[in-house]
């Protein structure tokens, strides 16, 4: 795909492939950061405005959740960041790791709600798929994939095919596949949306554990406000389509956290209630 025309909004430097001048201060748009500035997305064919003038700044290493009603445009926003949308549909500026979005950006690892495992690959084969496509040598990526399968609790299932794994186990493999990439930015679109409550709690803690260790940037889309509050540094609430940001709330819970332990924490419930109130306020306004 050609360079994203959004780039031209940023003094043309990124478009020309020249290194951008260093920006200092909290808004340094370097590796791991995402800058969204007055971005609108409209599907011309359907004459449908999906994202309306959204501005959002995500710093390197931050864990940000995005919640919003179904069909409001959350996935579309992630797809734009991943370079999956044709350039014509978007206006405004988006910088991912300081560069305009493009397909196959090594700075990004994308995880979907559906596990999207290859049924003809074993758990190990699936876990190493991303690194394989990105050209990591076989020995290295295999060791790494094994470690991650171990981390997500799938030791002993390396040679099992997806048909013999439960849905929760499959999503664990997908999580391992995502973390097996060395990308500083993880885009996760309702990764645990299809799981039962118990498995979900387990995997949330696995994800938090990996994140706390590696401090990558996570953009996490979910329908589950409790999930968003318990894991994130910030929760961004979006309006019904066309998506606008109606609240951007800091979550002052201590790190490291355990999602399981938080379930019994009164502070967590107080914050949850506050965020809920802000959300309702925003939706009725």
């Amino acid at each position: 795909m050609a360079t994203h025309p959004l780039a031209t909004d940023v003094d043309g430097a990124a478009a020309a492939g020249r290194p951008r001048p260093a920006v200092t201060g909290p808004a340094a748009h370097g590796a791991g950061s995402i800058l969204i500035d007055r971005v609108s997305i409209e599907f011309d064919a359907a004459r449908l405005l999906v994202v309306d003038d959204v501005s959002l700044e995500i710093k390197a290493g931050e864990f940000v959740s995005i919640v919003g009603p179904s069909g409001c445009g959350k996935t579309t926003l992630l797809n734009l960041a991943a370079g999956l949308l044709p350039a014509e549909v978007a206006r405004g500026t988006m910088l991912v790791g300081g560069k305009p979005p493009r397909k196959g950006n090594r700075d990004i690892a994308y995880m979907l709600a559906r596990d999207a495992l290859s049924p003809w690959r074993t758990a190990l084969g699936n876990a190493e798929l991303g690194a394989e496509i990105r050209g990591v040598p076989a020995g290295e990526r295999r060791t790494h994939a094994r470690e991650l399968l171990d981390r997500v609790g799938l030791k002993g299932f390396e040679d099992t095919y997806p048909k013999a794994l439960s849905q929760g186990m499959r999503q664990r493999v997908a999580l391992a596949r995502t973390f097996a990439l060395d990308s500083p930015i993880l885009l996760m679109d309702e990764p645990f949306g299809a799981l039962d409550a118990q498995t979900k709690l387990q995997l949330e803690d696995v994800l938090l554990g990996l994140w706390q260790q590696q401090k990558r940037t996570v953009v996490f889309i979910t329908h589950d406000l409790s999930e968003a509050v318990s894991m994130s540094d910030r929760v961004v609430v979006m309006s019904p389509r066309p998506a606008r940001i109606i609240a951007d709330i800091d979550i002052p819970l201590e790190r490291p956290r355990s999602v399981r332990a938080l379930q019994k924490d009164p502070l967590f419930h107080r914050i949850y209630a506050e965020v809920w109130a802000r959300l309702e306020e925003g939706l009725t306004a």
Partner: protein
Amino acid sequence: MTGVTWPRWLIWAVRIVVLVLFFSAWEWAARAGHLAPVLFGRPSGIAEFLYQEIFVTGSLLVDFGYTIVATVLAFTSGSVAGILIGMLFVTRPNLEAVFGPIVLALNSMPRIALVPLFLIWFGLGIGSKVAIGFSLTFFIVLTNTVAGGRGVNPDHITIAETLGASRGQIFYKFTLPSAVPVIFNGLRLGLVFSLLGVIGGEIIASEHGLGGTLELMAASFNTDGVLGIIILLALVGVLITWGMTAIEARLLKWR
């Protein structure tokens, strides 16, 4: 509903008893004059014929060889061409847009009507039989390959694109493996149709082969001979299907 609960030996035992009963009844009816042997043959006559022609004169073995060689040639050429062109269509949608309707038109031609033409072009020998088998197998495998290539999971493509997979990587790591099961169904069917095409061609005109002998037997009212060859062909069909299933089970153990 429950699955199979009988053990293997019991299934085989019942199967054999049923077959023995069937053939005994047939034999008895033919001997007692209820079934005219000229029209329906006799199991003992069929066995006698098969024994003579396979183990004594060996002439059936020669015919068998011709038929099998023609079938194998038709099947391999037809399926290799079908898979290659099919994959070309999958990866080059423009090509398919141009040639798809032409292929459809070609495939709609009744193949039996083409046999006289194939005989003129390729002669009475094995060449015309291979051509008929090829013309059936090719289109079956082509259609299945295209369907299989289309059936790739869109989530896989999304993941592949975010990973920066090249067109070649998308093809070899996603399109091809997800198409294999559907292609396999095409191959299974293609093999059966190769045999059908070859036998059909042999019946119409040939120098060797089971189809030709079958036609000869029928013309001389040797019903035992006709039925003997049909049974032989049925056995070949069963063996082919078993073989394909065994290969599939190994190749597609992830299913």
